[in-house]
């Protein structure tokens, strides 16, 4: 039988190879799944792994999904590195979109283009406020950030639902649960005409650089990570765990809120009950697949966006449910977790239990 044997030091090679092996396993399982569903596996796979990247237009579409994923996952990486489990980014995303939407609805004929900045700022503040509740309850009352942040997702969704069915409903919207379509002046500027990619791409890249600098080049980022890895060592060094808590949650909330603002004033252009699209949850996987490293997150967000587009294509062309996206995302996370074991352990073939472990 196989036996797990600890490696003397974590394998650097494996830590890079493991996401690739995980991806390979996901593709293999995907092939089997398509075959089991009676669909041609190659056509199915090409929808997930080739069609989304085959042209400039496809890449632009990919960026629409990847930008919110990168932004949210960067924030989550900061949290997770500090051993803080904010899993309610979806809620922070929604509240960011709500705050941004409120600003966007104030726009009138005389409004200048500068309102876009205000919209984005509102989104950041909205997300920070929602994550701030989590930080406050954890800091003051020791309440689990996992449960509080998750419960607040449902609360945020109800809040959104109340607003679009109630006070914010478009009076001329034939009673549909939606706000007015935001004024054209509030639209997030696009990068090129004709494609949906907008300046969110630049913001996400800038955020990636900033997150890298924060994590690896600042005192506060260092202290936060030590607190995550070895709380006792952090205490001994005098790093404040409260500072780390507030920093991590406000950063990740702000990033999720920013993503919400970009979504509301970008591709959506109004608020509907469908603002929460699961980016906040998918970003958890993005963060892990990206090794909680800003550069890795960019790659894994692109990969995860391919799953989104692949799911949409599989629905329209093969008649398969769109939920396939979630299955692939979950599979990738599982296989990655399993492969990551190989960073710290070696698989060794042991003939039988009686032969015992080699000396």
């Amino acid at each position: 039988m196989f036996k797990l044997e600890p490696r003397p030091a974590p394998s650097r090679w494996m830590s890079l190879a493991s996401p690739l092996i995980a991806l390979l396993c996901t593709v293999l399982i995907g092939t089997v799944m398509f075959a089991a569903l009676g669909k041609p596996p190659l056509t199915g796979l090409s929808m997930f792994f080739f069609e989304p990247i085959k042209s400039a237009y496809a890449w632009a579409e990919l960026s629409v999904k990847a930008v919110p994923l990168v932004l949210i996952a960067l924030g989550l990486a900061v949290c997770f590195r500090g051993n803080l489990w904010n899993i309610g980014a979806e809620g922070q995303f929604v509240v960011g979109a709500l705050a941004a939407g409120w600003v966007a609805m104030q726009a009138g004929p005389g409004t200048s283009r500068g309102i876009v900045v205000a919209i984005l700022l509102a989104g950041v503040l909205g997300g920070m406020a929602w994550a701030g509740v989590v930080a406050l309850l954890r800091d003051r009352f020791n309440a689990s950030e996992i449960l509080v942040s998750l419960m607040l997702v449902y609360v945020a969704e109800m809040l959104l639902s109340w607003l679009v069915y109630g006070p914010w409903k478009d009076p001329a919207g034939y009673n549909f649960p939606q706000t007015i379509t935001f004024d054209a002046v509030t639209k997030i500027p696009r990068l090129f005409s004709g494609v949906r990619a907008n300046i969110g791409v630049l913001i996400a890249l800038l955020a990636t650089a900033l997150a890298w600098a924060f994590l690896f080049r600042t005192y506060r980022g260092f202290a936060l990570q030590v607190g995550g890895l070895a709380p006792a060592a952090a205490r001994y060094a005098g790093f404040s765990s409260r500072t780390a808590l507030w920093t991590a949650l406000l950063v990740s909330g702000g990033m999720a809120g920013l993503a919400g603002a970009l979504e509301a004033a970008g591709p959506l252009g109004q608020l509907t009950p469908y603002v929460p699209a699961g980016y906040g949850f998918a970003a958890i996987i993005v963060a892990f697949v990206g090794r909680l490293h800003p550069v890795g997150i960019v790659f894994s967000a692109v990969l995860m966006s391919m799953f989104y587009i692949g799911g949409e294509l599989a629905q329209s062309r093969l008649g398969l449910p769109k939920a396939l996206t979630g299955v692939f995302q979950g599979l990738l996370q599982f296989t990655l977790l399993a492969c990551d074991t190989l960073i710290h352990y070696r698989l060794r073939w042991v003939r039988s239990a009686a032969a015992g472990a080699p000396a």
């Binding site: 009352f141 449960l147 419960m151 109800m158 892990f288 352990y345």
Partner: protein, 306 residues
């Protein structure tokens, strides 16, 4: 008065879902493993149970299928966390995300399906007694079975040798290991049993409680059940009482709407989530109290030979 009886009945019914999942997670956590995948296990079990009921017409086969699905899901988690020593938080989250996607995928053709007429019950001929009849004696057998399970679990944990071993594994895996117990085997078993109970809860939700299949229909019930184990300081009877209380909070919105209370339904729908946070804050305020009651090795990996 009659309305109150119906509210009590509905609370017990809703609470049964939370109670079943809650005691499953309690067994799980008593062994020292924290499974954040409850939501995913319940969803997959909900569709497994629903589909079984559609095809066979049997509620009990549906519960069996749900329990099996939950146990299988839990075993994926167990193999990762206990066998491969992965991070418990990350693996549990992955299970929740995967379960959400997979159940939506598997359930796509069942969204329009209807179940055969749901049976009604009248126990001991007391169903027509005013007030207590409709409140207590007209439930599905599973409601009473959940109570029996809680009593049985209490006996198991505090009066049986196997229960003592389970608690020892959760409190001090090193000692249990030194005494010759297979810590990882016991944990895997506890995880599977916990998953099976979450699965029965999921099947009860889709087959009896709702009864229909909707994508993401658990709506946070798995997470509330997780919170319940903390509220109950890992005691079975308190899990049951907490579950009824939260079942009541969930039902309160319909009760208030029925009374013509002028609040938007969304604010009432927030109640279970907000009250979870409030109770969590009240309970967690005293960290020592939590620490004394929590299984000491909860969330920590045990890997002999390292």
């Amino acid at each position: 008065m009659n309305e109150l009886a119906l509210l009590i009945a509905a609370s017990l019914n809703a609470g049964t879902v939370l109670a079943l999942a809650g005691i499953g997670l309690l067994i799980n956590e008593r062994s020292g493993v924290l499974n954040l995948g409850a939501e995913g296990m319940m969803l997959v079990a909900a569709i497994a149970g629903f589909a079984t009921c559609v095809h066979t017409g049997s509620d009990w086969l549906a519960f069996g299928a749900g329990g099996l699905a939950g146990a299988l899901m839990a075993l994926i988690f167990g193999v990762l966390v206990i066998g491969l020593n992965t991070n418990q938080y990350a693996s549990g989250l992955a299970l929740s995300l995967f379960g959400g996607g997979f159940s939506a995928f598997a359930g796509i053709r069942y969204t329009q399906e209807k179940l055969p007429p749901r049976p009604s019950f009248d126990w001991l001929g007391l169903g027509e007694v005013p007030f207590i009849g409709p409140a207590l004696f007209k439930h599905h057998p599973m409601v009473y079975l959940a109570v029996v399970l809680v009593i049985g679990l209490t006996w198991f944990l505090y009066r049986s040798r196997a229960g003592l071993v389970l608690r020892a594994v959760g409190e001090s895996p090193e000692s249990a290991h030194a005494l010759g117990y297979s810590v990882r085997g016991i944990r895997l078993l506890a995880v599977a049993v916990g998953g099976a109970l979450c699965g029965v809860a999921g099947a009860y939700l889709s087959v009896i409680y709702t009864p229909l299949w909707v994508e993401g229909m658990t709506a946070g019930k798995g997470w509330i059940a997780l919170a319940l184990t903390t509220f109950a300081t890992w005691r079975p009877v308190r899990v049951l009482l907490g579950a009824y209380l939260f079942g009541g909070v969930t039902m309160l919105q319909f009760f208030l709407q029925g009374r013509g209370v002028e609040i938007a339904s969304q604010w009432l729908s927030m109640l279970p989530y907000v009250s979870t946070i409030v109770v969590l804050v009240l309970i967690s305020r005293n960290p020592t109290w939590i620490r004394v009651n929590m299984p000491a090795s909860l969330g920590k990996a045990f890997f002999p030979g390292r």
